[in-house]
């Protein structure tokens, strides 16, 4: 009997960090050396859209290869909602290691092509919470589709 290849294939994680370009992170994150990231593209897109209020909203996309040797811990107190992990790098180190960077606008466009709409303006923590609680999370197949589309944009940080 031949095993179903798709069912047994290991999903290689990809880590997404939505922020504004060049943001060094809060003083606390810089001090403890943690870059919050999500394994879900929608979450990162939401934070990237909010990041547009402070500059160019972007998503830094880091593959497991980009983060080889870096400790990745469980996320924080809202980890379930945000599909969050704690990457043991400062936010700027994460940005430098990420092999793909796309803008919030590009991320939203990719999601639209996948049939998912994210608001074009999100301002403040209350709005973030509302959008996070009212959006779906992607399947591993959809995340791969998103990453392929982002790669095809051929943007470098």
């Amino acid at each position: 009997m031949v095993a179903d290849a798709a069912a047994t294939e290991e999903v290689v994680p990809v880590y997404f960090r939505g922020t504004s370009r060049g943001f060094p992170g809060s003083p606390a994150l810089q001090k403890i050396g943690i870059a919050p990231a999500s394994t879900d593209t929608i979450v990162a897109t939401i934070f990237a859209v909010e990041g547009q209020n402070f500059g160019e909203g972007v998503i830094y996309i880091a593959t497991a290869q980009d983060l080889a040797g870096v400790l990745i811990e469980q996320g924080n107190v809202l980890a379930k909602l945000e599909a969050e992990v704690a990457v043991n790098l400062t936010p700027l180190e994460f940005a430098n290691k990420a092999s793909i960077t796309i803008t919030a606008v590009e991320a939203r466009n990719i999601l639209v092509d996948m049939g998912i709409s994210i608001p074009g303006m999100i301002r403040g923590p209350a709005a973030i919470d509302t959008v996070l609680r009212n959006t779906p999370r992607l399947t591993s197949v959809q995340i791969t589709q998103f990453v392929d589309a982002a790669r095809n944009l051929r943007r470098q940080p």
């Binding site: 606390a28 403890i32 943690i34 919050p36 924080n76 107190v77 809202l78 945000e82 973030i128 919470d129």
Partner: protein, 97 residues
Amino acid sequence: MKQVFKVSEVVPIGEDTFLVNGRAYEDVKIGDILFAILAETVEPRKMEAPQCFKVIAISTYTRQIEELSRMLTGSLTLQGDQGENLKEETMLVIPVV
């Protein structure tokens, strides 16, 4: 008033001490005095009997810190008498004159 911290979970850790998890809506630091009100009643006229708590410790990603910045998630250790007013969806606020 200024919304400072939205509570997602409350864990009593002593008679008058409580750990609250959630997200900072504004910067919050050790020593701050916060008032607990239900999130859906965030209007000045509803603050007739605000409950007061002092922030005595802060942690994020299991690390102890002095200040939790706006937007970050984390845990506040609060000291105050009216712990029954701390619950999921509670908003911690600072009155603004």
